[in-house]
């Protein structure tokens, strides 16, 4: 079908573009209004607003896209024309996003992910097409058969009970912190002091904590409400959001595994989150998210389904031995030992020893948990690496996707006869580390996973 004609975005964007342009060009707008009032001539303000609205309208007329047999092409820009062209066989994921204004008008932003890191001008983004077109476009871009868009198998659906994990994140407190910072900048710096006087410190702290929890839960509800993860023939489809609906379609052929993440607090409540390890999708953050904090049975169930081998997800790991354990303990206890030296020689009050004891117990607990987490598992198809306590993760990476191995040893590691083994892949975070593997088995792990290492002339 070389009938590929240049197509425009939805005409309804003629309404959205000017609004966005006004928001983007706020400084210019303020300038125009100030100029208008300063010169006592409101025409300047009107000219400013008119110019910005015109720019928005012009964006619609200057933006067009084309999908032909081989490439997809996007043309943008009024003065600086920009033409972005991608080979269709490089498309790895299709993401859609509908903010409130877009949803009211029945529009959806469509973003195409490739293997390259796309930033700014290099992002292939159709902002926006009408929502009815999206299913067809997505199927076409990902090369699905027309029949394959049939309803797939639902892997996970959001439940209100997932909200119990959201207070464990820092997002609410971060939002309050940001708001406080802005208030300080805006000249409300004296307000917190007055509040402390009015309500008392502890009550205020409790209030901030409660507000933080409420914000975190609210944000989680709005962002992840109605999440559905569906597996189709060769795509994985994720929809979430209450007001702003985001959809993400992953090409399953590019899936190289998954990362189960269990931060300490989340783990304590039996929760986990799941990230995709996929080519063309950043390894961290929103774009790789498959499941937000949810019961760990749900997360492991989905990962098992994707990996197709329960042993990879649940199976026991090979521990890294006594040298690795010793290094965890030395690191955790170095600070308490140094602190004890200070306490012995410095005239500090007796209660500081109580504080020291509590800190030491915490450090020991951390070391114990880190030793327990450390392990790996390797076979011809999957490499599993597990580590961490505060941020525990279990990376499951397909060995077919590993395109490089590094064995790194610091001076201390050489003395302890351990090494850090790094598997390089094009997917996810690009590097997956096995920390403090005994040096004599490091290359055996690599050779087990990658036949090209075992067959090389150096391996014996």
């Amino acid at each position: 079908m070389n009938s590929a004609a240049w197509q425009r975005l939805s005409p309804r964007m003629l309404l959205v573009h000017p609004v966005h342009e006004v928001l983007n060009q706020l400084p210019l707008l303020v300038g125009a209004i100030v100029l208008g009032s300063a010169t006592q001539n409101p025409v300047w303000s009107l000219v400013g607003v008119g110019f910005i609205v015109l720019m928005g309208v012009a964006r619609w007329f200057t933006t067009s896209y084309r999908i032909d047999d081989r490439d997809i092409t996007l043309r943008t820009g009024l003065l600086r024309r920009n033409e972005l062209s991608l080979p269709r066989n490089r498309i790895r994921s299709v993401q859609t996003d509908a903010r409130l204004l877009h949803r009211l008008l029945g529009l959806t932003v469509l973003r195409v992910g490739t293997g390259q890191e796309a930033k700014g001008d290099n992002t292939f983004e159709l902002d926006a097409v009408s929502a009815e077109q999206v299913a067809g476009l997505r199927a076409m871009l990902l090369g699905e058969q027309p029949g394959a868009a049939a309803p797939g198998r639902v892997l996970a659906t959001w439940r209100p009970s997932w909200l119990r994990y959201s207070p464990l994140s820092w997002s609410g407190l971060l939002m309050i912190g940001a708001a406080t910072g802005i208030a300080q900048q805006a000249g409300f710096g004296h307000v917190p002091g007055r509040w402390v006087q009015a309500f008392g410190g502890p009550a205020l702290a409790a209030g901030i904590l409660l507000a933080g929890v409420a914000l975190a839960v609210g944000r989680s509800l709005l962002t992840y409400g109605n999440l559905v993860l569906t597996r189709r023939v060769d795509t994985l489809h994720l929809v979430h959001g209450l007001l702003r609906i985001q959809e993400h379609t992953f090409d399953l052929r590019r899936l190289r595994g998954g990362t189960l993440r269990q931060p300490l607090l989340l783990r304590a409540l039996g929760g986990a989150r799941l990230d995709a390890v996929m080519t063309g999708v950043a390894g961290v953050g929103e774009s790789s998210l498959l499941l937000p904090p949810c019961p760990s049975s749900t997360a492991t169930g989905v990962l098992t389904d994707l990996v197709g081998d329960a042993e990879v997800v649940h199976g026991p790991l090979t521990p890294h031995g006594s040298a690795a354990a010793r290094r965890r303990w030395v690191r955790a206890l170095a600070v308490p030992v140094a602190a004890a030296m200070v306490l012995v020689f410095a005239p500090l009050p007796g209660w500081s020893w109580g504080l020291w004891a509590a800190g030491t117990v915490l450090a020991a607990g951390l070391a114990y948990d880190r030793v327990r987490a450390l392990g790996h598992r390797v076979d011809a198809r999957w490499l599993v690496a597990s580590a961490g306590s505060l941020e525990r993760r279990r990376d499951c990476v397909q060995t077919a996707g590993i395109i490089g191995w590094t064995v790194r040893q610091t001076w201390f590691q050489r003395r302890a006869k351990v090494a850090t083994l790094v598997a390089a892949t094009a997917a996810g975070t690009k590097r997956y580390m096995l920390i403090d593997v005994p040096a004599e088995i490091a290359w055996a792990v690599a050779a087990n996973a990658s036949p090209w290492v075992a067959d090389s002339q150096w391996y014996a």
Partner: protein, 164 residues
């Protein structure tokens, strides 16, 4: 896992002039620091112990980065190109062995800095689709580097699947 499995080291050392180039490269910033100290001494010679301390620190820095590190690196650095993989050993305090399959190579780049040009050296970087997997073979004689690039591009048959 049974008997310890060892990986033989890659065979080829870098160019003979590599330690000299590394030492010169490291000496240049130290020259500026030493010059600054001389200026300081000329302008203000009141606290002799401070000057002696600073000079000792500089001398130690020069010893480590201009003498010890280049020699140590020259003893560690090795590279070899096999039938199916590139293998290097690099570093001094922190040592790395890195192997990448030639079939997954995306680009082969040569880089020559001013000092490299002066001494007829070249650095070859072999990149794969992973940002964590690039293999760097540093401080080769130009003739060797050209041969390496030709050999790699020949085996790699660039344009095949790259595991993305």
């Amino acid at each position: 896992m049974g008997a310890p499995v060892l990986m033989a080291d890659p065979a080829n050392p870098p160019s003979r002039s590599a330690p000299l180039v590394w030492a010169l490269g490291a000496a240049i910033p130290w020259l500026f620091i030493a010059f600054g100290q001389v200026v300081w001494f000329v302008l203000d010679a009141r606290a002799p112990w401070l000057h002696v301390g600073a000079a000792a620190a500089t001398a130690l820095g020069v010893l480590v980065s201009v003498v010890i590190a280049p020699i140590w690196r020259y003893r560690v650095h090795r590279w070899e190109i096999g039938a199916r993989a590139v293998f290097t050993r690099t570093g001094w305090l922190v040592q790395e062995r890195r192997i990448a399959p030639i079939s997954r190579v995306q680009t082969v780049d040569t880089y020559r800095g001013p000092l490299d040009r002066l001494f007829g050296l070249a650095n070859v970087t072999v990149t794969t689709a992973s940002s964590a997997g690039a293999v760097r073979i540093v401080a080769l004689d130009v003739a060797v580097a050209d041969r390496v690039v030709a050999q790699l591009t020949d085996i790699a048959a660039l344009g095949g699947p790259d595991a993305t």
